[in-house]
């Protein structure tokens, strides 16, 4: 009998947006083999993910033996990470998450929309004034979330290159554990210094807000720093990838691009288009991980206490039972129930911010540059598949 397939799996070069064919061939309750040779359960169906990601018999406590870690470096770091929203279960998780939610409230991020629009318009001005072809990843994709997140955290923009490099090294599958740990430590030291500064001179930003909670004894200094680093990393490459990959997907589907351009001034249409692109691209492609703390019956099989469980989000977002013809990009589809941000209590903290960034980006870019086109054949666009989320190394465009 052949062993379980290796995970994360390779996508097919001809349809790089769709999940790897092996993901879709898996039975509802399958097994995969991960980097340490262990074989956690593998869940790909939308309905199963919805049920299990809210099941208290599954834990996100990565300190438990047998937890199916994402990478070797994550496994090495896990015992040293303080208790955070990313490694605790309710009710402790609920308490911690409530200390960091405020900046990401729907109404708070809505207030940022005009500023994000300004950022985008100014980046597009620069792009149009510069040479062509240009790389959309460097000129628009990366700077948008960098500018937004440094502003939210209260970090000076001059430090954005350090942020980008250190956060990439901290999470990439290619980084050895020592490098990843060093990068995390550098980010921590930087944010720790900034936190102290903001505690002395508060401003209107997240570090100042967390600083006030540290002073009030609601949060420790270490928790605030680790949370700041998590916000920085999580909000960075993900949004950048969505902007660049979304553009590539739309250039590859000119009918849908035209539809979006023609409806750029309809916020409802744009919001729906963002949900469909989130579903279609599902950039987080290394699976979200849990460990069973009690036996769970599923499809006639028992997941035993202590077993690891991996959820492939793209599997759920391409589940034909939930999304008919999942390979078709259809911006008019009702895609709101997608799992691109995960599901359950750990669903993405920054999702409202990501939505606003993407709504502004997708409604502005193609309206302002209606002749936007690829400067190389589609097959030559270099994908970056090695991270927790996939993206593009560059996106050469002209207009």
């Amino acid at each position: 009998m052949p062993g379980a397939p290796y995970y994360p799996m390779q996508r097919e070069a001809r349809c790089p947006f769709a999940p790897a064919p092996a993901v879709r061939d898996m039975p509802p309750l399958g097994r995969v083999r991960i980097w340490d040779g262990s074989e956690p359960w593998f869940i790909t169906r939308h309905a199963d993910q919805r049920a299990l990601l809210n099941d208290p018999r599954l834990s996100i406590d990565e300190k438990r033996p047998g937890y199916p870690h994402m990478t070797r470096s994550r496994a090495a770091m896990a015992p040293h990470i303080p208790e955070l929203i990313t490694n605790t279960d309710p009710p402790q998780h609920t308490r911690l998450r409530r200390t960091v939610n405020a900046p990401f409230l729907v109404k708070r991020v809505e207030l940022l929309r005009p500023r994000i629009q300004e950022i985008l318009d100014s980046l597009i001005d620069d792009l149009l004034a510069g040479p062509k072809p240009a790389d959309l990843v460097q000129t628009i994709g990366l700077p948008v979330p960098t500018l937004v997140i440094t502003r939210i955290l209260g970090a000076p923009y001059e430090d954005h290159e350090f942020f980008q490099a250190a956060s990439h090294r901290a999470i990439s599958h290619d980084t050895d554990p020592e490098d990843a740990a060093r990068s995390s430590r550098e980010l921590g030291e930087y944010l720790g210094a900034l936190l102290v500064k903001r505690m002395a001179e508060p401003a209107d930003d997240v570090l100042s807000e967390m600083g006030a909670r540290v002073k009030a004894g609601e949060m420790t200094h270490a928790e605030a720093v680790t949370m700041g680093a998590a916000i920085l990393i999580a909000g960075h490459e993900t949004s950048a990838s969505m902007i660049s990959l979304g553009t590539l997907a739309l250039l590859h589907n000119p009918g849908q691009l035209a539809l979006l351009r023609d409806n750029s001034d309809d916020p409802k249409f744009v919001a729906g288009a963002v949900e469909e692109l989130l579903r279609y691209l599902t950039i987080v492609h290394s699976g979200i991980r849990r460990i069973a703390i009690e036996d769970i019956e599923l499809h006639g099989t028992t997941i035993r206490a202590g077993d690891g469980v991996v959820f492939d989000l793209a599997g759920a977002n391409y589940d034909p039972a939930e999304y008919p013809e999942p390979d078709r990009l259809d911006l008019t589809r009702r895609a709101r129930s997608h799992h691109a941000f995960g599901f359950g209590p750990h669903q993405c903290l920054g999702q409202s911010l990501a939505r606003v960034e993407l709504q502004v980006a997708y409604s502005t870019l193609y309206r302002r540059i209606p002749t936007l086109a690829l400067a190389v054949p589609f097959e030559e666009v270099p994908f970056a598949m090695d991270g927790v989320a996939y993206g593009l190394k560059s996106l050469p465009v002209t207009w």
């Binding site: 998780h93 609920t94 709101r336 669903q347 409202s352």
Partner: protein
Amino acid sequence: MRIEFDERKCVAAGQCVMAAPDVFDQRDVDGVAIVLDREPGPEHHDAVRDAAAACPAAAIRLVQA
């Protein structure tokens, strides 16, 4: 339709506010959902169903009156 909301489960993802802004809001201090209208009129029912389905923590339950 009556909305039953379990505040202990709420993780303040904000999905309900986006789906049904006339019926849900978020507490400023921690983002926990606030139900503005526990028995919303029929014009809000579709949006409220979307909100309940989108809630990642399954904190919203709808009871047919």
